[in-house]
């Protein structure tokens, strides 16, 4: 392990008596889908956060719920990067790989840093599993792992031994393997076991024997670390807490942050929240979260399909609540026509798109940013709609509030883009004060707004927004719909001048949002220079880290990260033109690049990746180096 950490470029600070401590460590847990790797990773994340380290995680799991055991495509992995310095990404290459079976080793070892540590469960390296992983000979025995350190021992047998007193069946007993492994990992990084013991007691409150068995496995793994340290290569490291702003912290996933942000946004608008959803990976977690928040005036509705989900949300908005729907790419495609109706009837609506690899079903559990065109352009007719993109799990909270604000202030549907990575990944979050946000209370029309008591549902305010009129309000009866209408009265009117006027009004209203959003700032670096990397969404971490490293080496490069994708901030064009070169790293084939070229006639160059995996820092560093060479 020591060799691994010496190769870490960030240098060493802090530490324990045992070994020099690194600033940051990347650990990947990999096992069978049924091995509980996501749960192990989640609990290790929590213990890391409680230890005060900064962190970023990357859960990576197959689309199959229970893929056949031991297969290569059934491997589920969870990577965490943590340290005593600011962490922006889940890390490029792991320092430590925990491989629970041969398939997990095969699919993950290639990513491991040279000299990195492999912890493998020999109990699973039997003939059958080796065949399933397509190994002719055990890699633990044929020397093929010699560029790494290998710590291979029978975790299965050790777990069975540890839980023997509880009389569990073999299958149930082996389920405790992940806790044994976690116990070892907690020892390695000098963590407190108590929060995990408390969590296990809560989780298995109805089956205390399972709680006891899991705790025993956890303790046994921990004890193994202490014992093995005396004899072998295993070392213990203590990473000093990160230097963060004072305050209360927790970990949050993007799905949680979006859910809380929507609740906060509805509160700031003074409205009840209606959420219409239909299960889809990776967006479902938002529906799950909100279904538990009914006391916040939240109604959740699991509709019969994606279209019904958005239609019900629009119906609720018509009725005076804040309608929200959420999905991922394929579901968003289905909602397209209804978005057009919300644009046409000028009703507030928030659409959350947790993007995944596409087209069609694509890569349900993998991340991508390829719905930008769909978000900005993907509807029939001239159908302008604001689009906002969250850059990280915690950023999704503020973005959700901003989406709610735009929706009610401009009477428009708004799309909030996250992606599979943001939705599932967790990061430490300084708990915000919901009262620290500027409220944007909604006023419904209560009296006729036209001459002689006429109701003009399409009269416009200074922002170009029409009044919001709740059915049930006496004297304001009116009809709205998807057919083109007369400006002001909203009555059906296909006259050429009316369609021209209404098309213009809808466009002007959305364009006008640019005047009400903050000017684009340079996230890191200077305004103007040799090179700008312009990103949006979850590429924030790798771009930021790569630019930071390049700047340390003396390169003239800056990072610009855009939240408001449509309309774009008013100063963005001028800002981009102040650099000699502009590179747009995206997890698609160059969608935002095209938008920037179209809007500003700048020679934005694409840097693209569509493997279902986030960018590594190294990939972006290489692009910077090539551009400045």
């Amino acid at each position: 392990m020591a060799t691994v950490l010496e190769s870490e470029p960030e240098g060493h600070t802090g530490g324990s008596d045992n070994a020099p401590a690194p600033e940051a460590v990347v650990v990947r847990f990999a096992g069978d889908s049924g091995d509980g790797m996501q749960l192990t990773g989640g609990q290790f994340t929590l213990s890391t956060a409680l230890a005060g380290n900064d962190l970023a995680t990357f859960p990576d799991f197959p689309a199959e719920i229970r893929a056949p055991q031991g297969t290569l495509f059934g491997v589920s992995a969870f990577q965490i990067n943590f340290g005593s310095t600011e962490i922006d990404t889940a890390g490029d290459a792991p320092d430590v790989l925990v491989a629970m079976n041969p398939a997990a080793l095969k699919t993950n070892v290639g990513a491991l840093k040279p000299g990195g540590l492999i912890i493998a469960d020999t109990g699973e390296f039997n003939k059958r599993n080796l065949e399933k992983a397509k190994y002719d000979v055990s890699p633990l025995e044929d020397g093929s792992l010699e560029k790494w350190q290998v710590l291979a021992f029978d975790i299965s047998a050790l777990t069975l031994e540890a839980v023997k007193p509880f009389g569990l069946g073999n299958k149930e007993a082996l389920r405790c393997k992940n806790m044994w492994t976690l116990g070892l990992a907690l020892w390695m990084f000098d963590r407190d076991r108590q929060p995990l013991i408390d969590w296990l007691k809560g989780k298995f409150a109805k089956a205390p024997i399972l709680a006891d068995a899991n705790i025993a496995a956890l303790n046994a793994g921990h004890a193994y670390g202490e014992t093995a340290e005396l004899a072998g290569p295993l070392k213990q490291y203590h990473l000093a807490p990160v230097d963060s702003e004072p305050g209360l912290y927790r970990t949050v996933t993007g799905a949680e942050a979006v859910s809380y942000g929507l609740v906060a946004g509805a509160q700031l608008a003074g409205l009840d929240l209606f959420f219409g959803g239909y299960p889809i990976t990776p967006a479902s977690a938002i529906l799950h979260n909100l279904a538990r928040l009914k006391e916040f005036g939240v109604t959740t509705f699991q509709a019969e399909d994606e279209i019904a989900a958005i239609a019900a949300a629009i119906g609720a908005s018509f009725g005076g609540q804040l309608g929200v729907t959420s999905s991922s790419g394929p579901g968003i495609a289905l909602k397209g026509e209804a978005m057009g109706l919300a644009i046409m009837t000028e009703l507030p609506l928030v659409i959350v798109n947790s993007q995944r690899g596409g087209p069609s079903t694509g890569l349900p559990t993998k991340t991508e940013q390829s719905d930008l065109y769909q978000a900005v352009y993907g509807r029939n007719g001239d159908a302008p709609m604001p689009v906002i993109a969250a850059r990280s799990p915690s950023d999704a909270f503020e973005c959700a509030i901003e989406a709610c604000r735009l929706a009610v202030q401009y009477m428009t549907p708004v799309m909030l883009l996250t992606d599979g990575y943001i939705a599932n990944a967790a990061e430490p979050w300084k708990v915000p004060d919901p009262n620290g946000f500027e409220p944007f209370p909604v006023t419904f029309l209560e009296e006729p707004n036209g001459p002689d008591g006429a109701v003009l549902p399409y009269a416009r305010d200074a922002k170009g927004a029409r009044p919001w009129i709740k059915p049930g309000t006496p004297g304001l009866m009116h009809r709205i719909g998807g057919i083109e209408k007369n400006p002001g009265t909203g009555n059906i009117d296909y006259a050429p001048a009316s369609h021209q006027a209404m098309t213009n009004a809808r466009k002007d209203k959305i364009d006008g949002i640019a005047a009400g959003i903050p000017a684009q700032e340079v996230t890191l670096g200077e305004a103007g220079g040799r090179l700008a990397l312009v990103g949006w969404g979850s590429t924030y971490g790798p771009i930021h880290q790569a630019v930071r490293r390049a700047r340390r080496k003396g390169h003239d490069v800056s990072h610009i990260h855009v939240r408001h994708i449509w309309p774009l901030p008013e100063n963005l064009g001028e800002l981009l033109k102040s650099y000699d070169q502009v590179i747009v790293p995206e997890m698609n084939t160059g969608q935002f690049k095209t938008v920037l070229r179209d809007q500003y006639l700048v020679d934005a160059k694409p840097l693209n990746k569509t493997s279902g995996q986030p960018f590594t820092i190294a990939e972006i560093e290489a692009a910077i180096a090539a551009a400045l060479a």
């Binding site: 119906g315 908005s317 309000t473 009866m477 009809r479 719909g481």
Partner: protein, 340 residues
């Protein structure tokens, strides 16, 4: 099990329910008669225009909301039930009417029709069935009879038609009724639908005079009315043709049969008494084929049970009991740590 506060009755006249919009259906269209029947019924219900909402999808029938002086929402093809569901959950006090057609409600929106019935949203669903696509110029529809010649089926349609009332009952509907556009009984059927707490499904045969003229004439025209119409009344024998014929149950085959009634002695002929709460009888009546049998009209089935929105409200109240909506507290819940 009436779960909502009844809406206060308001005095209006037919005129109060007319908008200033020019009605744009073809002259002679059956929709005019249905519109008038609705506008005539609403004052009798004591309906409040401010609390009444008409929601429609796409098609000729779906222009309906523009012509009723209430709140209205002309939405997208087939999805009106879903919009209505969101609206009712947002404000259960609203009196929501859904207007749809055989294409809108049975074809593109069949899925939503099924689910709004299954969930039992408290709304009136008026499905105008003219067995044709009118607004797109005369293609056959999912209710068109076998062999219907249309621009898309020049040799006659080969797919079997759906039966809207059977579909609605099968989807879990608790109120199923039938009427036709120019029938004098239509307002009474609408009133019964309105009185039903839950999803009330009314199929209204409508004469598309341009693309499917007189397709229901065999029972709607005077000549065939007596033999062709069976008007159902709860607690009364199922008689037609001026009481000379009736509907009985063949207990061997568990099928309905037509029997002759002599001297008004329907008991002797074995004629069944209609019971709107008998679901098995409702299944037989909605499937009763016209031709060998008369068309079953009126309220076929009416057996309410708790509505969807009442259940949602109850659940929300139960989930919120004893809790306060403190967002700051929610955000700092669970395992946290403090940095000094």
């Amino acid at each position: 099990m009436n779960d909502m506060t009844p809406i206060a009755k308001v005095q209006t006249t037919l005129k109060d329910w007319e908008t200033d919009q020019e009605v744009r259906w073809c002259p002679g269209c059956g929709d005019y008669a249905i519109l008038k029947a609705v506008q005539r019924t609403l004052p009798e219900l004591g309906a409040d225009p401010a609390k009444t909402v008409f929601i429609s999808g796409i098609g000729c029938s779906s222009r309906f909301p523009y012509y009723v002086e209430s709140y209205g929402f002309h939405t997208i093809h087939g999805r009106a039930p879903a919009f209505a569901t969101g609206l009712k959950l947002a404000n259960p006090e609203l009196d929501v009417w859904l207007v749809t057609g055989d294409g809108d409600g049975m074809s593109i929106g069949g899925n939503h029709t099924m689910h709004v019935l299954r969930r039992n949203l408290n709304t009136q669903i008026l499905l105008f069935n003219n067995e044709i696509y009118g607004l797109t110029k005369g293609q056959y529809s999912p209710t068109s009879r076998l062999g219907t010649v249309s621009p898309t089926t020049p040799l006659g349609s080969v797919d079997r038609p759906a039966t809207p009332c059977a579909f609605a009952l099968g989807a879990g509907g608790r109120f199923i009724a039938r009427a036709y556009d120019v029938s004098k009984e239509l307002p009474a059927v609408l009133k019964a639908a309105h009185a039903h707490q839950g999803a009330a499904f009314v199929e209204i045969f409508q004469n598309c005079i341009v693309y499917n003229k007189d397709v229901f004439a065999d029972f709607t025209e005077k000549a065939g009315a007596a033999m062709g119409q069976l008007w159902l009344k709860h607690g009364e024998p199922m008689l037609f043709n001026k009481g000379t014929k009736g509907i009985a149950l063949d207990t061997e085959t568990l099928a309905l049969k037509v029997v002759d009634v002599e001297d008004g002695d329907w008991q002797a002929a074995g004629v069944r008494v209609h019971d709107v709460k008998n679901r098995a009888l409702a299944h037989l009546l909605v499937e009763m084929p016209f031709g060998p049998f008369p068309m079953a009209l009126g309220v076929i089935y009416d057996d309410p049970r708790p509505t969807f929105e009442a259940a949602v409200i109850e659940e929300r109240a139960r989930a919120s009991a004893g809790k306060t909506a403190n967002l700051a507290k929610l955000l700092s819940k669970g395992q946290t740590w403090t940095v000094d």
